[in-house]
Symmetry: C2
Subunit: 728 residues, 2 copies
């Protein structure tokens, strides 16, 4: 039967309605898996804001695990397995969140305090840089220790398209120090609460990260989730993957209030602008103050307070997919998250046990973490294609200088090595310098992996402060860390500062290393030693007494010479006193240093006179002299042009002499060289004529520079110049 006239119009209207429904279905609900996150969250946000009562009825926010969005009915995390999309290939219809525009600057904030956290930050940042394709601005809230370390590190890292800003955590302390807190992260754990006020007022969005997270994906994908925020939402968080906030872990377990399982604050998307507008500061302080009337302290630091505020104002929060914060404490439900996802985005070692956490897949997570722990950070100095970013400070000059080198120059490799800016991580391990004493001396030396076994003996011989520069790869730095941790002798010492300079290039940058160790010495005097020497047990005390006695602190400009000896035996009885040493010398068990190979290096010390000396005596500089000396910390730096083997100490002693340092030999001081195989650099020096030619050229240039600086006074060094053979 056909419809006509009015009925026909009615039919058309019915069809129209059907079509509208169809359109609605196709556009907004066609596939049960397809729903644009931002709209869905907007709707929930609006509803939730006005009616907080509606949320507790559904305590677990529906958090998708795979970064894709699901219908509200499908549970991901409350024990119910996720809805099977029935063979539907979800990726056919659900677009991923739009990535940020190609060169958009992404903002990241991290709170970091102390030596160990500073190392953690580096690993986090490496994982971030490995996957990132956008320029980044890192906002680092640090204590003085971390700032000192990270400032030098990023300055020398020179990663393109990374800006760094520092914020003084100590200035922020008063804002949170009134909160009693039991969490292992201490006061710094609370500092994320004050970011909206601490960060620049024009900063609208920031991703906040704990130092114990590791990225396995591009942070831009996380940044893109800001687009899902409704108009009011200001905090993006991943649900907690433990039962902590359910409050049933043990009898009388009373956690802070939270929505259902609560949220984990290891990874936060913050709309700072909205938080400021919403009066965040008053908001969290009010909530915290109120809860602290009945609760004695926070257990999980900032996280307790974030959760309490969210419980009260659920419209603030945008739940994020769980893969953006896979929490690897013991007994977490993280497996439910990652086992259904094909992909992991961020893992979070949110347990004080860290890599020793119990999880049946921990080996895999550990491997991802170790990947970045041991990753050569130099490789992250890569440009972003097509993003015009200002180069890191100094990078352009460096590029120009490198471009001017000529590959045909026999010294090409040496000059390239000299120009190399090595990443430097000062005080790599915890370090507590002793209180400053007016005559104190720091032993300064440098080493690489193959001399690590010298450290324990050195610690036994030198009870005073040390500043040691280590030339290591990122992976070796971790071996070094384990070496110190498993050594009772080394881990007992807190006055030894270890500075890691990361390896790059084929020649050992010996003088750059010495300069790093020297610059980090904190006492007024330094003993410039080498790692294969063991000083007399009494040397530390004797040097301090001598400095005092000689009144070096005053007008007197002097370098105190510590006579050097050598043994050829692996094991030998180290002499306790000068008399014992002289006996060994006479017996042929000891020699004066390089007696056979390079006597002129130490001849001016005048060992014959030293045998008899009762008081310090002055010696004169002579060609090729390279004694081990004690000097004020502000002494001239080593000349970085000397890399690898040869002339690196000789040039420094010339500088001291040119600057009119008296050379005073100490009658009771001595230090003894232990045997080792020749270094690779000395082997190259011996077998490679280019190496020797180049060293000659570098010496000439050094003398030219010397004449330029010191004028006619430098002439004596040039006339004393002998055909080169080979000091170290």
């Amino acid at each position: 039967m056909l419809l006509r006239g009015r009925p026909r119009a009615l039919g058309a209207a019915a069809l129209l309605l059907l079509l509208l429904l169809l359109i609605g279905f196709f556009l907004f609900g066609g596939d049960p898996d397809c729903e644009l996150g931002s709209e869905r969250e907007a709707r929930r946000g609006e509803g939730g804001g006005g009616d907080p009562g509606s949320v507790p009825g559904s305590p677990t926010p529906r958090v998708p695990s795979d970064g894709r969005l699901r219908p509200r009915g499908a549970a991901a995390f409350d024990g119910v397995p996720p809805a099977d999309p029935g063979g539907h290939n979800r990726s056919d219809c659900v677009p991923p969140p739009p990535p940020p525009p190609k060169c958009e600057l992404l903002q990241v904030a991290i709170v970091c305090a102390g030596h160990n956290s500073s190392r953690d930050v580096v690993t986090l940042v490496k994982s971030l840089l490995f996957y990132r394709k956008n320029p980044l601005h890192l906002h680092l809230v640090t204590d003085a220790v971390a700032r000192n370390i990270l400032e030098m590190l990023f300055h020398t890292w020179m990663v393109p398209a990374v800006q760094i800003s520092f914020y003084n955590a100590d200035e922020l302390k008063p804002q949170v120090s009134w909160i009693p807190n039991r969490h292992y992260s201490g006061l710094y754990g609370l500092m994320k609460l004050v970011l909206p006020t601490a960060l620049p007022p024009d900063l609208a969005r920031v991703i906040v990260l704990d130092t114990d997270v590791t990225f396995a994906s591009d942070i831009a994908e996380l940044w893109a989730l800001f687009a899902h925020f409704s108009d009011k939402q200001a905090i993006g968080l991943v649900e907690n993957q433990s039962d902590w906030y359910l409050g049933n872990l043990w009898r009388n377990h009373r956690p802070w209030p939270a929505l259902g399982r609560g949220f984990n604050t290891g990874v936060i998307l913050l709309r700072l602008d909205r938080l400021r507008q919403a009066g965040w500061e008053q908001m969290w302080k009010l909530t915290a103050t109120r809860e602290l009337l009945t609760l004695p302290a926070t257990s999980l630091a900032d996280q307790d307070i974030f959760n309490a505020v969210i419980k009260e104002h659920p419209w603030l929060v945008q739940p994020l997919p769980c893969i953006w914060n896979v929490q690897l404490s013991d007994h977490t439900l993280a497996e439910r998250c990652y086992s259904e996802a094909s992909d992991l985005k961020v893992i979070h070692w949110n347990s004080p046990k860290k890599l020793r956490v119990k999880n049946k897949h921990v080996e895999s997570f550990r491997n991802l973490y170790l990947t970045f722990l041991e990753y050569d950070g130099n490789l992250l100095r890569r440009e972003l294609f097509g993003c015009p970013c200002p180069p890191p400070p100094g990078a352009e000059q460096l590029q120009q200088a490198l471009a001017q080198l000529e590959e045909q120059d026999s010294c090409f490799e040496f000059r390239q090595q000299q120009l190399t800016v090595h990443r430097v991580h000062i005080t790599f391990l915890p370090h507590k310098p002793p209180p400053t004493q007016p005559h104190d001396v720091t032993l300064v030396a440098q080493l690489s992996m193959e001399r690590l076994q010298m450290l324990e003996a050195l610690c036994r011989h030198w009870p005073g402060p040390m500043s040691l520069a280590l030339y290591l790869t990122d992976a070796e730095a971790q071996q070094f860390l384990r070496f110190v941790e498993t050594s009772a002798v080394l881990s007992a010492r807190q006055d030894v500062a270890y500075h890691v300079m990361y390896r790059e290039g084929s020649l050992y940058p010996i003088n750059q290393l010495r300069n790093v160790a020297l610059a980090q010495a904190l006492t007024p005097y330094v003993f410039l030693s080498d790692i294969d020497f063991l000083p007399a047990h009494s040397l530390y005390d004797y040097l301090r007494a001598s400095i005092e006695q000689l009144e070096l602190g005053g007008r007197r400009k002097a370098a105190l010479v510590v006579p050097a000896f050598e043994t050829l035996h692996y094991r030998f009885r180290f002499p306790s006193f000068k008399a014992e040493l002289l006996t060994l010398l006479d017996a042929g068990s000891l020699y004066t240093f390089r007696h056979h190979e390079w006597p002129q290096g130490h001849a001016p010390t005048d060992y014959a006179r030293w045998r008899e000396a009762q008081a310090p005596y002055r010696v004169r500089w002579a060609a090729d002299y390279e004694p081990y000396v004690v000097v004020p910390r502000d002494c001239p730096r080593y000349d970085p042009r000397f890399v690898g083997f040869g002339w690196n100490k000789v040039a420094h002693i010339i500088e001291l002499d040119a600057q009119e340092y008296e050379l005073l030999v100490l009658p009771e001081a001595f230090t003894i060289h232990l045997p080792h195989a020749p270094s690779l650099d000395i082997t190259r020096f011996r077998s490679n004529p280019t190496y020797r030619d180049c060293l000659r050229a570098l010496k000439d240039e050094f003398h030219q520079d010397l004449s330029r600086h010191y004028g006619a006074a430098a002439l004596k060094y040039l006339t004393a110049l002998q055909p080169p053979r080979g000091p170290t």
Copy 2:
């Protein structure tokens, strides 16, 4: 004015039409950038297949550069800049190709021949494994050298969810050897042509990779592009990024025929099933034969023939986005590809210059390559979550054995180290063993980085074959490679085989290393030495003569003892003859080995008798004897339970004695130990009582095993057992 009755029905119909249009617009054409790739490609494929003439008119296939699909009008690669989508965010509407199902097995084929390509394959595979989330099946078409290397490598790598199949390239040679070819890859470069017949007949799809590509993304994304193939397309390829096939590079440059710029075959998606059905074998042979009537040879190996076939049958090819094969030759147009893409998927070092190629961004590409070159391959032993895959052979037993270890056991670390399966890359560098001689001897030793400087001297002292095991990280293996390449002495030697065992664990697996070097020796006899010894210059000749003279090849089972001495000086004149050595010994410039520290290690050699000896003499085993010996290659292996320092050689000599090897001291043989600093292991042994306790426990267990094997005959070793001190 309101419409009524019929007009109203008309209005409704008009509205209906409008709505239908709107629906159509939203669903099928809303955004000019939105077109489902598979549909578009299907349409093109169908058209192209029936009408080959339509393709040459548009010589450059439209290849999108960023992995997303564009309207047909937008050019990406023919000089015209890509169409700007007018601020439209493309990702809002264009879905990426559907990823393969979570645990789908992806098939990859690689042709690999020789030592250098085997190293390249490892880097490629590391990059592949780093990003992959699917199980993989690698089909390796190899010559005997590569098979030998890669079989051992993958066997010891034990990566979960990776299957390996080998195919004998030499058997495939006749199918391509008739083609004259000028490309540097040689005959193996042509072998990709025969994959459809060489690979198993039930294998339908495979991704074919050159050894010089590096992945920067998950290969599953590449696999997903199979879904874009039309019904007939069988070969997915990226357009060439050079002008080679345009034929205007120089006067009389006559390349093989190709569609426009042609395609690059460094990365290929092959539908093997369709190729077989289409008669691929006849197809390419016909084309090649015909072209070779006028062209003298292929210039670019398989690529010339692939392109000629495609020119003739353009319906075969599905062009792939350029980011899947960014070609880094000099003068390529690769920059146009990657500079507009935010992302790179695969880079291809398709120039004989490899990493020295000219490209203004080469530093960044190099960093990506170095990332995987130096990446610790052990970290890739990670499971795929939720993909049930059979574990690699031996993995389960290993897991069980490790699970049975007790952490409280003082030997826990030792037993863990013993059980560790180290990745082994045999013949890491090119190696040409000399023709087999009946009395030839290979010097067998092991070392780590800190002994690298010994190699040149060793080569000067030992002109015969050597088999050396090196204990290195992946990064150190590259340093080692550069060290050999820059040494004239080392790079001149082709009879020295270097086997890399990759580092894992904290103790030096000395006996596992020795066993690897021993197993790879190819001569009938081996000289079991240590890296810090230099043999007499005449030793190699003398040993061969002695073996012949003593008729060791026959019934006689003997170990020839090479007496060991030591010097304490860095530099010394190495004695040419026994008489000279005796003079130095008398002068106190040389000592018998470990004369001061551990005389019992070599006392049974009877140095007094050796002074006078004119002929080989037999000595008896005694406790702690650990001489350096020459034995047949099939001698007992070293006991791997001894790791780190202590008893590793002593136990081996006991085994020799238990198996009734005569111990014959050679009167003219000698070897001299050079000084070096104590190893980390010996330092730990000395300072750590647990270390010493454990060594005692391991010795007891060794003796128990000995009694089990040799019964009462082994009793003498137990009764001779002395309280342990410490041999190496």
